[in-house]
Amino acid sequence: MPSICFYFQVHQPYRVGKYTFFDIGSRHDYEDVEKDKSITRKVAQKCYLPANNLILKLINKYKGWFKVSYSISGTALDQFNEYAPEVIDSFKRLSDTGCVEFMNETYYHSLAFLFSKPEFTQQVNLHKRRIKELFGQTPRVFRNTELIYNNELGAMAESMGYKAVLAEGADHVLGWRSPNFVYQPAGCYKTKLLLRNYRLSDDIAFRFSNRHWDKYPLSADKFVQWVKQINGSGEVINLFMDYETFGEHQWEDTGIFNFMENLPEKLTQIPEFNFVTPSEEAELYDPVAQLDVPSFVSWADVERDLTAWMGNNMQLEALERVYSLERKVKRTRSPELLDTWRKLQTGDHFYYMCTKWFSDGDVHKYFNPYTSPYDAYINYMNVLSDFTDVLDANIPARRENHERQQYRSISI
């Protein structure tokens, strides 16, 4: 009697527009508003609205049996609000069914946990309030950006009072163990650890329309057979994936919507089978063991580590630079500058600078608006240079010039 837990990630970053060295000091608008608007509207039409309709239909059809969960980044929510408010309404309708759980993450889909705990906490709380305000539920489960996780994050989740935290069921973390049980973060006694079954999740999210895949085409029947095989050797199957899988990564004509529509029906064949949300899963199942995860894991690339965002010196320099501005930003007491700074923390900006071209490289290229990671880096650093100057101009005058000079070494 395994349970399936569906969790869909919904995220859209604010895109940084073309910003050259010559723009530094002359304009301070970094966002590509037109692009944000057009992408948000496009993905709303192709994915969010039709997928939400389908989920709503399934929930109504199965009267409380079918359940899903979401984590929606704050940057996505804000852009829906601005460019596609009907998406927010449709999520509200889903929330009203009582069969949908919303999880908590960093508002700006950032890597703040790795660089500043105070900033991390603020973004998490900001997101929690926003979810409460929009959907009337207080999130009880936490998932960090890109499922970045280690023992410390598990402990933090417990100290913040979450029932559960999510992570990648990576081989190098699990060893011989199965992801199909509930675990507990090392050293915790309350919070549970829910691990993504990456094989089954990626069968849907990545391989669904891959004609070179030996299991192609994937039908609901076939998938249910695989689920049945787990019966007895596991209690839960955590299917965690980007929501954009539906209609955006896998286009409608691949049959992804039909697959999803047929899946619950086929799963009714399995006796005592049910759907759960993450917090239900944490309540229903006892942890089989504590899991020691000393170094960071994530759900990205084949490495399942941090190298998609922190794998080279350009990424590290950019991250260190943006987080080094925290004190300055907060001293300005300007909500606008704080917001701009936080938008610049969104993980996507650093993902674009990744130079791992081969094997994973094609995935990176697909998601990359820049023609090369070097272009992404130069553009981002130009923006940071200007933003640093803007901050300096906005804090009560003191000897800040000295710091600025360090970064602009060639313009002496």
């Binding site: 050259t20 060295f21 010559f22 080279n312 010196n313 350009m314 990424q315 590290l316 320099e317 950019a318 130079t355 071209w357 023609t371 090369s372 070097y374 272009d375 880096y377 130069i378 650093m381 130009n382 240079s385 602009r408 070494s409 060639i410 313009s411 002496i412």
Partner: protein, 428 residues
Amino acid sequence: MKVLMFGWEFPPHISGGLGTACYGLTQGLSKKGVDITFVIPRLTDRTTRSHVRLIDYTDALREYAVQGTTTKWLKRLKVMAVESLLAPYVTEETYLEMVKKISSTGKKTTKIAEKSDVFDLSNDYGPNIFESVSRYASIAGVIASQESFDVIHVHDWMTIPAGMEAKYVSGKPLVVHVHALEFDRSGMHVNQRIYDIERAGMESADHVITVSHYTKARIIEYYGIPAGKISVVHNAVSRQESFNKYHVKKSPLRKYVLFLGRITFQKGPDYFVEAAKLVLEKARNTHFIMAGSGDMMPRLIERVSELRMGSNFHFVGFLRGEDVERAFAMSDVYVMPSVSEPFGISALEGAVYDTPVIVSRQSGVTEVLNHSLKVDFWDIRELANKILGVLSYGGIHDEITSNAKKDLRNITWEMAGSKILDVYTNLI
């Protein structure tokens, strides 16, 4: 496998990338066991015009190679120079006489010998070059009747008539290797006669090799050659590791930006000058080095003075050997803003010397050198933005150079050699 190859230049006497490429390609082929007879016209000023002689030039070449790397492959390579070929005063009669004298078989007379004006060689472009090309072709016929070989391989338009002639005489398959097109050198102001030679050569060739997909596409578009007849063989670079012998201590205060190439329309030196002006507005301690010579140089010197940036912009002339290495080693970024570059080996050299490279998107080398910065040659502002980015932000230099080194591992002359060998094998 024996190949009769016709080139225009060969180290040590080179004026650009063609000689370097021919050296590398023959090296790669020799290592695959291919025997090559390489014929070049020697561009000398000597006044011995009366006769054409075939001279074994291998000794001089061996000297050159000793300075370079290994010499084992040289044993398979025989270089012949057709001395005084450029002499414009050989008449049809003396030429026929000469052919009789040289050709032991005497069975065939060449096409050119029968009809001297295969190409209309009158005025305009400078008749000498066409005459030279034509005479080179006639000599090619003689050589083709003397040598034994399986394939004829020619490099660029100057050698195309030679290849056609050799094919006519011997009946062996002809491979035309395109390193540059008239469209690359002259933009839209093409010399019709050169275009005609290129087109005729590629049409009569049994196979065409280009140095990039970029050039292949242009050949299909402008010359109407079917795609199936064209293979792409990317160039490479000889030395993979820099020896760091010019361990130039780079100053954080003074940055060098390098242009290295012929100062001609094709190489886009004027875009480099204009970008320099923009860079200097933001970073006054940047220095620009323009290495090379060419017909645009006087105009650019004037432009640099007009922009009042003479103290930061240095014309250093045509560099050779170690000076080239030193120039790369001391520079913080190498810029190749070519208007149309079939390949661009010097971008790979930049990578060898750990110098980040900015190349125009209109360059074939971008197909193999992933880890470089790319700009449209006309986008001066973006070029300046990228130069400033590389000079200002520390993270990029090591990342781009170490990744470019990885690119280089997959770009070797041996690989080029084996691809060419495949082409040969399919022809015989």
